[in-house]
């Protein structure tokens, strides 16, 4: 295991889904093929030990990116390089070996555990699958240790998932994800289905585990407040593209991209500062028919002709991070410092 700084490198990755109607219907109705570009050219890197969060609203493609990184989908173009190994070019045996180094935690605590399996068997699956334990006693001890680490009891290994609450099931998911001693965890909205107090427990747990085991996280969420607590860097996605990526502090104190600013101001004002909010126009467009040029231009108060024609590239910004916006590049936006 090398100790190179960059653990994951995603280069111009795209994923298209063919959602056309069946061939016969299309021919009879004279319709074209419909291609859904769920992810349209996304590039980022994750350094060892950090937490990169991808935020965005529904349809922005963040969950698809998570699945691409884990190998659940194959990219339509681009490359995903994990610790120097290009995932698409590697033999399937080596890929299986690679799989014990990363794992995924899912959003739905009810669907992510097999309801017919006992908890011990669920947690042990990665260990058994990669042949990491030699005796049953060793396996049992390891499962017990994992359960304790996530705040449950080793006796819970004999129970079934339905005997646990949502928060406890997420802990079981985390235990399963840790069982093969991975370096990298992809977390797809792990707390979105949980109550607020349970969410706090799980977020604290994840931070503790990260410190203890030196884990690297890719954290997907739509909740900016949660992200501000757990992420070191944040990437904002809109309609399959990355629009801004920077350190957490920079993103929240000085959001540059108009969409990021809009997302920030849309967060409900818990502190009741009585801030004025400019109501946002419109809704996310249909991903089957994305706008030309910059995907955000129909809703953007700073859009000009170039924005309608030309898709902006991600460029480095002197204040840190990268932004994909013509208005920022041309310095047309007067950026207020957020409170």
């Amino acid at each position: 295991m090398s100790s190179a700084k960059i653990l994951l490198e995603v280069c111009d990755v795209a994923k298209e889904f063919d959602v056309s109607r069946p061939w016969l219907n299309r021919v009879l109705e004279g319709q074209d093929k419909q291609i859904l570009k769920a992810v349209d050219g996304v590039s980022f890197t994750i350094n060892r030990g950090e937490t990169l969060a991808l935020v965005g609203e529904s349809g922005c493609g963040k969950s698809t990116v998570a699945r691409l990184v884990c190998g659940l989908y194959t990219p339509s173009r681009g490359s995903i390089v994990f610790d120097g190994v290009d995932m698409a070019k590697v033999a399937s045996d080596e890929l299986r070996g690679l799989r014990k180094r990363f794992q995924m935690i899912f959003q739905d605590p009810y669907a992510s555990l097999n309801p017919r399996w006992r908890v011990g068997k669920i947690i042990a699956e990665p260990i058994v699958s990669h042949g990491l334990a030699t005796t049953r006693a060793e396996l049992k001890a390891r499962v017990g240790q994992l359960l304790t680490q996530v705040g449950l009891s080793p006796l819970d290994a004999d129970k079934f998932p339905h005997e646990f609450s949502g928060g406890q099931r997420q802990r079981i998911s985390i235990a399963r994800a840790l069982s093969s001693n991975p370096e990298f965890l992809v977390c797809d909205e792990p707390t979105s289905a949980l109550d607020v107090s349970v969410q706090a427990q799980i977020l604290n747990l994840m931070k503790d585990l990260q410190r203890e085991f030196g884990l690297t996280y890719l954290f997907i969420s739509h909740n900016l407040a949660v992200v501000s607590h757990i992420a070191t860097r944040v990437g904002v996605m809109y309609l399959g593209r990355l629009v801004e990526i920077a350190d957490t502090r920079r993103i929240f104190t000085r959001p540059l991209h108009p969409y990021t600013q809009m997302l920030q101001s849309a967060i409900p004002d818990l502190k009741m500062t009585g801030k004025q909010r400019t109501p946002v126009a419109g809704e996310v467009p249909n991903p089957l028919n994305p706008p030309t040029g910059c995907a955000f231009h129909p809703r953007c108060p700073h859009a000009n002709e170039r924005c309608r024609r030309e898709r902006p590239n991600m460029i480095e910004h002197p204040e840190g991070g990268q932004v994909a916006c013509h208005a920022v590049e041309e310095r047309r936006i007067d950026i207020k410092i957020a409170a």
Binding site: D195, V198, L263, Q264, L270, P279
Partner: protein, 343 residues
């Protein structure tokens, strides 16, 4: 917004039970609150706290085998919890409207929204069809649907999620009700749409003078929209009071824990304060105060009172909290108290 006269909605000692073969489960245990005309009361709590059931009981949509087993619901001076099916149906829609969480299932996919709107209007108001249609278009414009006169003939699937929720709001407002029960109206929506819907609800509430019972788990939405808030835990009200007070100066240990657990942009990003354990299941609600196993202050009260006696809502600062920490009067556990131990 307070009014010295009788409140619009009075819920007194409401108790909702579910008879199951394992015994009777008490989902809502003796709660009382009022909503004044034109006020927005937020009912906040985590899943299983009983807030949705309370809303369903008020509008008479409690699903059997759940049933109201005690208490009264008084709307506009008249009792409504014991009405027959026909009587409650007349009130529903006309006096009390409802908005539910999922706009997809709240609208009938087979009918145009125009038809659904005019049907509601004609049922409750004595208008001709043409008048009803004109009013429907007015309503759609009011909730912010562009080109309302054309879109009135569209089907629900032709609208996006946020637009559908606006249509549902217009349906709820169609007959000019005095009270709207909104059960998680923004939970299924994206955060930017959520902001739009919150702004809309506030505006409509102001303009029509409609009272709203806003049920949600999202404290942020409550902070922006509500005048007062009731915090529910395990079927009981833990704290109730003006929104600014409950959020900035919570008095009940659960509310304090809850506010500490909510992440907020701009915090110092260290550990979120967490409440250990989880909400008790309905089959295993602790004796005394339902929160006592998880409470960090339980030993600050003399004589283990928290584990024996269920606290009633007591004045605490500028709010009311159901917590013995705020019991100034009777410090002895032998003090006469109306509330008996309920399990």
């Amino acid at each position: 917004m307070t009014t010295p006269s009788v409140p619009l909605l009075q819920v007194k000692n409401l108790r909702i039970e579910f008879p199951t073969r394992r015994g009777i489960l008490v989902a809502v245990d003796d709660i009382s609150f009022d909503i004044a005309a034109g006020e927005v009361l937020g009912v906040v709590g985590e899943s299983g706290a009983g807030k949705s059931l309370t809303g369903a009981a008020v509008i008479g949509l409690l699903e059997p085998p759940g049933r109201i087993a005690g208490g009264e619901i008084i709307f506009n001076g008249k009792r409504i919890d014991n009405l027959g099916f026909e009587d409650i149906r007349k009130i529903r829609g006309r006096e009390i409207g409802a908005i539910f969480q999922d706009p997809l299932t709240s609208l009938n996919p087979l009918y145009t929204i125009g038809r659904q709107l005019t049907e509601t209007i004609e049922t409750h108001l004595a208008l001709t069809h043409t008048q009803a249609r004109a009013r429907a278009i007015e309503l759609l414009e009011e909730v912010g649907i562009p080109a309302a006169d054309k879109r009135i003939d569209h089907y629900p699937h032709q609208f996006s999620g946020g637009m559908r929720q606006r249509v549902v709001i217009s349906l709820a407002l169609a007959a000019n009700p005095k009270l709207i029960i909104a059960d998680e109206p923004t939970t299924a929506l994206d955060v930017s749409i959520q902001a739009q819907i919150i702004t809309l609800l506030k505006k409509l509430g102001r303009e029509h003078g409609t009272a709203v019972m806003l049920i949600t788990h999202d404290m942020g939405v409550i902070a922006e929209t509500a005048d007062r808030v009731a915090v529910m835990y395990a079927g009981r009200i833990a704290e109730i009071g003006p929104v600014a007070e409950v959020i900035h100066h919570p008095q009940h240990p659960y509310t304090i824990g809850l506010m500490g657990a909510i992440p907020s942009v701009g915090d110092n990003h260290e550990r979120l304060s967490q409440i250990d354990g989880s909400m008790p299941r309905l089959t295993a609600i602790p004796a005394g105060c339902a929160f006592n196993p998880r409470c960090t202050r339980v030993n600050d009260v003399a004589n283990h009172r928290c584990t024996i006696e269920r606290p009633s809502l007591l004045p605490a600062g500028k709010t009311m909290a159901a917590c013995w920490l705020h019991d100034r009067l009777g410090q002895q556990s032998t003090a006469v108290n109306q509330h008996t131990v309920t399990v």
